[in-house]
């Protein structure tokens, strides 16, 4: 085994780790030593594109299907993620709405689940910073408190969007997104191909094209193919990180250790390390999404410059959250829902209805016989969420009454929303969670557990911007 000592050891190179590291390096002295352990490899976007075009690439050997990395006991539920440099920034679709302030106060405002120990107001400056780093495109005038312009102008509306925006004002806005509305540093402007998992024109923000610079910093050493499976903990402090590289066991000592992998692997590492917190691995999940096709009479939904062109908040926040879940509307045009009736080919608006869910204890993550492979138990959606689906079907015709609707077609719930949330939830005290407001483990005080793992509840908004802002916040307040 190799024994080396670092000031900071970080697991993973996705959003949570990279944004944390950026803030840490901006505050750390020149003599600090940082080790970053990445399970995957560097697999450039240009090489991923070659595969999509049917060409060969020497990097294809680094393609790692998510199914190979977890033991997923519910085959009807999918959990896609990327194992590689940049983590799921490679496969995300670039949606970056902020959370609503009440998303952080579900217990005190609505009597549901738990409050987060951090507030919207505390995260606000870090939201701006994360939006700047990602060069987010977005509108002025949002349903969440935000002043001034986004770094890039908003994407263009379709006629359907314009009508809904006119009726609902800032409850229906051009979606803030990390799909550039015009060329910006390191990226091209979005051409609306709607295949964002591998952007054909490199318009989507990724860690690779971010120019974030952290992995080129002289204080940082990055190891690829380093599979972390356990922490060596002595007297409630993490002393060593155990990992394998090329089949050989290795370890690294760190003053401070950061788990920045996704919730499955953060949990697996914690449980392998003997974490006895009864909530570790418990109550993970994600939002429920379902598509509604809105057939329009004598109106096309043409135009628009994005995959998710707009967000609707008409079913999001309000007293109904005492009884049933919030729903965020995504107006999108992928996959291309084309009608085949003569003269009506583009007379369709396609809305993704995204519902929050609750962290049910019946959904949990455990270890398996293979120390690298977490076992995923996902069984239930909450009644809170299912009731919101029924309410949406009742309310949507009225919400869309300003449009010439011919028919609404409700498609079955999607197999995933591309998010994995919870498993090391944030709380004020150790009885109600695993980490504190700075995502420091309640019991092991030199250990951060970052990312969506730490979310206390699962609001309907996409998690990436918030988890990135939380990483900036945690590093800023802790060093």
């Amino acid at each position: 085994m190799k024994h080396e000592h670092y000031d900071l050891v970080i697991v993973g190179t996705g959003f949570a780790s990279s944004f944390f590291l950026k803030k840490y390096l901006s505050k750390a002295s020149a003599d600090k030593k940082v080790l970053v352990l990445e399970k995957g490899h560097f697999y450039p976007q240009a090489e991923r594109l070659k595969i999509k075009k049917g060409l060969s690439s020497a990097y294809q050997k680094y393609e790692q299907p998510w199914e190979d990395h977890i033991l997923n006991l519910n085959k009807n539920k999918e959990w896609p993620f990327t194992t590689a440099y940049g983590g799921s920034s490679n496969c995300w679709w670039g949606c970056t709405p902020r959370f609503m302030p009440n998303d952080f106060k579900m217990k005190s405002v609505y009597g549901i689940a738990q409050d987060w120990p951090v507030s919207y107001e505390e995260l606000d400056p870090y939201y701006y910073e994360a939006e700047e780093i990602m060069s987010v495109s977005g509108p002025e005038g949002t349903p969440f408190p935000r002043k001034g312009k986004y770094p890039l102008p908003p994407h263009a509306f379709t006629l359907v969007d314009k009508i809904l925006h006119k009726k609902y004002g800032n409850q229906y806005i051009s979606q803030p997104g990390a799909r550039a509305s015009q060329a910006t540093r390191g990226r091209n402007g979005c051409l609306s191909f709607s295949t964002c998992e591998t952007c054909p024109v490199n318009a989507k923000f990724t860690i690779e094209n971010s120019e974030i610079g952290v992995y080129q910093d002289k204080r940082v050493k990055l190891l690829y193919g380093a599979q972390v499976y356990q922490l060596e903990i002595v007297n409630h402090l993490v002393k060593e990180v155990l990992f394998e590289q090329d089949g050989k066991p290795q370890s690294a000592k760190g003053e401070v250790v950061v788990l920045g992998a996704n919730p499955f692997f953060n949990t697996n590492i914690l449980l392998n390390s003997g974490d006895k917190n009864p909530l570790t691995g418990k109550g993970f999940g994600e939002q429920l999404g379902m598509q509604v096709l809105i057939y329009l009479d004598n109106m096309t939904n043409a135009g628009g410059s994005n995959w998710v062109n707009a967000n609707g908040y008409m079913l999001y926040d309000g007293d109904h959250r005492k009884d049933f879940a919030a729903c965020l509307i995504e107006a999108n045009n992928a996959p291309y829902d084309i009608r085949l009736e003569r003269g009506k080919h583009l007379n369709v608006a396609s809305f993704r209805m995204v519902f929050e869910d609750l962290p049910l204890l019946s959904n949990y993550i455990t270890t398996s016989a293979d120390k690298f492979v977490p076992e995923i138990h996902f069984q239930d959606r909450s009644e809170y969420t299912l009731k919101a689906v029924a309410n949406m079907k009742e309310k949507l015709p009225g919400i869309l009454s300003c449009l010439p609707v011919e028919e609404l077609k409700y498609l079955p719930p999607a197999s995933h929303e591309g998010h994995i949330i919870g498993g090391a939830r944030m709380s004020q005290d150790i009885r109600n969670g695993v980490v504190d407001k700075h995502m420091i483990h309640h019991q092991y005080r030199n250990l951060f557990v970052l990312g969506a793992s730490a979310f206390t509840t699962f609001g309907p908004s996409n998690p990436t911007l918030t988890l990135s802002a939380m990483s900036l916040f945690a590093a800023d307040k802790s060093f």
Binding site: F157, F193, G304, L346
Partner: protein
């Protein structure tokens, strides 16, 4: 559940021939360039598989006289034909001849998102 007689597979007409007829029937109002449909069908079946099971499913669609409203298989066939032509580039103009441009792929073909600003620029979308 429909029971297909074992002999059906052997006596049914060619799947590709059926697919061509289905597209031409549904899109009868378009001026389809000669060879466009058969070239598309050849490419489509090359990519999506032309095995026994696939053949049998297509023949079920044919013999049950399903239209695209009842068959996702047929709907996809026609939808991807349109996406593989210049129909959307020409803003769904029925007066223009529809030419096959190659099997649709967002990474390879010249056809953009049919809804997008690439075809319908911001200035073309009326204000309300």
């Amino acid at each position: 559940m429909c029971v297909i007689p074992p002999s059906l597979y052997f006596i049914a007409p060619g799947t590709k021939q059926y697919a061509v007829l289905a597209i031409e029937k549904e899109l009868h109002y378009l001026k389809l360039a000669p060879g466009s449909v058969i070239n598309y069908v050849n490419d489509y079946f090359d990519r999506t598989g032309n095995d026994t099971v696939s053949n049998l499913k297509w023949k079920m669609t044919y013999y049950l006289r399903l239209n695209y409203e009842k068959s996702d298989r047929l709907r996809d066939l026609i939808k991807y034909f349109l996406l593989s032509t210049d129909f959307f580039i020409n803003k769904t103009d029925e007066s223009k001849v529809v030419n096959y441009l190659g099997l649709y792929s967002p990474y390879l073909s010249p056809v953009p998102n049919p809804y997008s600003f690439v075809i319908y620029p911001k200035e073309d979308i009326k204000d309300v």
